[in-house]
């Protein structure tokens, strides 16, 4: 038997192996995509109802006597008036047959707890409304919204249904009278957190994330780039520098919760910085992103061909001029990509922020870096943990918003790389 025969004999086997390897690779990719699709459809399916808002239109008699205020009342008098009463009256007028105390209590839960504040704000904006009758659209309670959106099946037997027959009849009567409508849920993007699912919004968390990332970027970008330039271009090659390099690589692998503990011990307990503030969150996250950016920046600087440096030096540029005028601009796309990916990582980080008190219920929207705030992933965590069923859709919607920002940041990174990347 000569060599050709030997090869021919084994040929089929080798082809088979190759085909099997390809097939396995394809299967693993397909499985990954399948899981991703299942996850995304599940989240999107659950999140969609969160973007509609259910309202109940009520004729409210804003009589000055009932409210105890008039057009000349001071702002604090208007603020403290009892608006709940007029809303309750409007509901009672619609369903005059409801008389017992218990049923009335049930009836008043049709509108959201926020309805009275909605009315208050409307009157504070325009005191002329006093002593008129207005048709105002009030936020519906989360249970009502669940029925209208179909999250609660009306055909279930009463014992298995969260909204009982009596309330269901009221809702259906309102529906036939055209007093229930659905609009796009702008409040979801303009409100802070709330314990009532229908009023909860994500603006506070978005701004908290923004402030936190601002601090992270302001601290980690300059420090990381400077460190990378020094280590690549200026540092002598000795054991001490090697030791630092190894440690930077190790730091990138440290679990993020460790940075949270560090932040608690150093910034909060030792420097007395405020708890729950984006500035502390940002500092902690910048400790976490520093190694990522340093490593990315170093490899970007390393990829710049030495000829560029030598040409600059040859024409009389100083070392610093060669680095800042020629090497750094050429390395910038890589550095930016690394930075954005590091920031995206910081955006999705929860664990270190647990330690520094950013897991908190915060209604007021943060305006500065020292006001208490929370961030997007923590908002997801808090809502997922709430007993009210209406938060299920909010959780998924918040995940979508978070995913949107992550994808957008990664897209920018890819765009920058494609646009500025040079082939040497």
């Amino acid at each position: 038997m000569n060599n050709t025969d030997l090869v021919k004999q084994s040929l089929q086997k080798r082809y088979l192996k190759e085909r099997m390897f390809k097939a396995m690779g394809f299967i693993s990719i397909a499985t990954a995509i399948l899981f991703l699709l299942i996850l995304l459809t599940d989240i999107i399916g659950k999140a969609l109802p969160a973007f509609t808002q259910t309202n109940i239109a009520l004729e409210v008699k804003l009589s000055a006597d009932d409210l105890g205020i008039n057009a000349n009342s001071s702002e604090s008098e208007i603020r403290n008036a009892d608006y709940r009463k007029v809303i309750r009256e409007a509901l009672s007028r619609l369903f005059p047959e409801v008389t017992s105390r218990k049923d009335k209590r049930e009836l008043y839960t049709l509108t959201s707890m926020g309805a009275e504040f909605q009315l208050r704000d409307a009157i504070m904006d325009n005191p002329q409304l006093i002593d008129t009758t207005q048709r105002i659209e009030f936020l519906a309670d989360d249970d009502v919204a669940a029925v209208v959106k179909g999250a609660i099946d009306r055909n279930l037997p009463e014992s298995d249904r969260r909204v009982k027959n009596q309330k269901l009849a009221w809702i259906e009567s309102l529906e036939t009278k055209g007093q229930i409508n659905s609009t796009f849920n702008w409040q979801f993007f303009s409100n802070g957190d709330s314990r009532e699912p229908e009023m909860a919004g994500i603006k506070g968390a978005i701004l908290g994330s923004f402030f936190t990332l601002l601090v992270t970027l302001a601290l980690s970008f300059p420090i990381a780039v400077a460190a990378a330039i020094y280590l690549e271009e200026f540092a002598p090659k000795n054991r001490f520098i090697d030791f630092i390099e190894i440690n930077i690589n190790n730091l990138a692998a440290v679990p993020s919760i460790v940075f949270g503990l560090l932040g608690l011990a150093v910034f909060i307990n030792f420097f007395n910085m405020p708890r729950s503030a984006p500035v502390v969150g940002g500092i902690v996250l910048s400790l976490m992103t520093l190694p990522t950016i340093i490593i990315a920046s170093r490899s970007a600087i390393k990829a710049v061909p030495p000829s560029l440096r030598e040409a600059a030096l040859g024409l009389g540029a100083s070392k610093m001029q060669s680095v800042f005028h020629h090497v750094l601009p050429a390395a910038l796309p890589g550095i930016l990509t690394g930075t954005i990916i590091g920031m995206a990582q910081a955006l999705g980080e929860t664990a270190p922020l647990l330690m520094i008190g950013m897991v908190a219920f915060i209604v007021d929207i943060p305006q500065t870096l020292v006001e208490p705030s929370t961030v997007l992933p923590i908002q997801v965590f808090l809502w997922a943990d709430s007993p009210e069923r209406g938060f299920l859709e909010k959780t998924s919607a918040a995940i979508l918003v978070l995913l949107f920002f992550l994808v957008a940041m990664n897209a920018i990174a890819i765009y920058l790389r494609k646009k500025f990347e040079k082939k040497w």
Binding site: T109, R162, P274, S276, V279
Partner: protein
């Protein structure tokens, strides 16, 4: 390059300009995750209906909250801590040592702990003794003073009246206050039914505790994390399993899960309020008296929390699953809060 420099400088400036030594104009609350849902509701209403800022509420767990609360006086410490049990003597002592000498205790109501399963599954009529026998690591034999590793795998082996399904209970991990309360109220309650174990309580308290409080680790009790919604989802996937969580979650998910009867009483609003349902615990919050004058809105917040419309019998907290105090106790609590009566060591 230049724009980049500018951006960095501007970002740095914005950051620097905003860090200033800040006095605090909002109330800071820490503590139990069980009280958190009630505290947050009051805080939100308080923030919306007054001109004060909305209090910030952190969910740190009862023990963690006590540490933060007792760290000292001053704006960088918490004003209020929530607790799903009474403050311990050791904690109050720690408070006193750190200068927090005046602490006001507020009892807000009760919380029931329920054992529930999928709504279409078996009816469970449990006793605390059944729960102890099914979940303890070691159980007593017929002979006094003898313990064996828990041999039971089916509920009907524990008690022949129970359904013939595998013992599988999803519950909170040891870090949770719910777990502490469950162990103390349900397991210990069942454990005490054995006279000789009850006798060891006085003789050897550590031994008594280790018998009554240790949950089995052979897979029958599954630690499902602190997220009660997750437990409810898992119960639907596995109709044979039981889950342990707070009453408010049963209340909100009555179409998905049903509570088991414990010692003949169902976990309902009325039975927990009357104390008939055995597995229920008091909920508290503690106020730093020194901060009442210092932090704006403290007095008003206390007023709102203890008002009839919040924690009264038909208050809005009951809509969120809080079991209210009876009228006499309520009046007493309200009075103590108004007078800011301090706890004695």
């Amino acid at each position: 390059m230049k724009t980049l420099k500018k951006i960095t400088v501007v970002a740095g400036l914005i950051a620097a300009s905003q860090i200033q030594a800040a006095g605090r104009d909002y109330i800071s609350v820490v503590g139990s995750s069980t009280v958190y849902p009630f505290s947050t509701v009051v805080a939100e209403r308080f923030g919306k209906s007054t001109s004060y800022k909305t209090p910030k509420i952190e969910s740190t767990g009862t023990g963690g909250g006590m540490k933060l609360f007792c760290k000292g006086n001053g704006v960088d410490t918490a004003d209020i801590t929530n607790a799903s049990r009474r403050i311990k003597d050791s904690e109050l002592k720690m408070c006193h040592e750190n200068g927090v000498t005046d602490v006001v205790e507020v009892l807000i109501g009760y919380d029931g702990i329920v054992v529930a399963n999928d709504v279409n599954s078996h009816e469970f009529k449990l006793s605390r003794k059944d729960l102890f026998l099914a979940l303890a690591k070691e159980i007593p034999t017929d002979k006094d003073g003898e313990l064996i590793a828990n041999p039971y795998t089916m509920w009907n082996e524990v008690n022949k009246d129970l359904p013939a399904v595998k013992i599988e209970v999803l519950g909170p991990p040891p870090t949770s206050g719910t777990r502490d309360a469950f162990v103390e109220l349900a397991m210990e309650g069942g454990c005490k039914n054995f006279p000789w174990i009850k006798d060891t309580k006085d003789a050897d308290k550590t031994k008594y505790k280790s018998i009554c409080h240790t949950i089995r680790e052979d897979g029958a009790y599954i630690e499902a994390g602190e997220n009660d919604n997750l437990i409810i989802q898992k119960l639907q996937k596995n109709p044979d399993a039981l889950g342990i969580f707070g009453f408010s979650f049963l209340d909100q998910n009555a179409d998905l899960v049903k509570g088991a009867l414990v010692d003949g009483s169902a976990p309902e609003f009325e039975t927990i309020a009357s104390g008939e349902y055995p597995v229920s615990r008091p909920l508290f919050f503690y106020v730093k008296k020194a901060h009442v004058a210092e932090i704006p809105g403290m007095k008003e917040f206390l007023n709102e929390f203890t008002s009839e419309k919040a924690m009264g019998e038909e208050g809005y907290l009951t809509d969120k699953g809080l079991i209210p105090l009876d009228q006499d106790k309520y009046i007493k609590v309200k009075e103590d809060v108004m007078n800011l009566k301090s706890l004695e060591l």
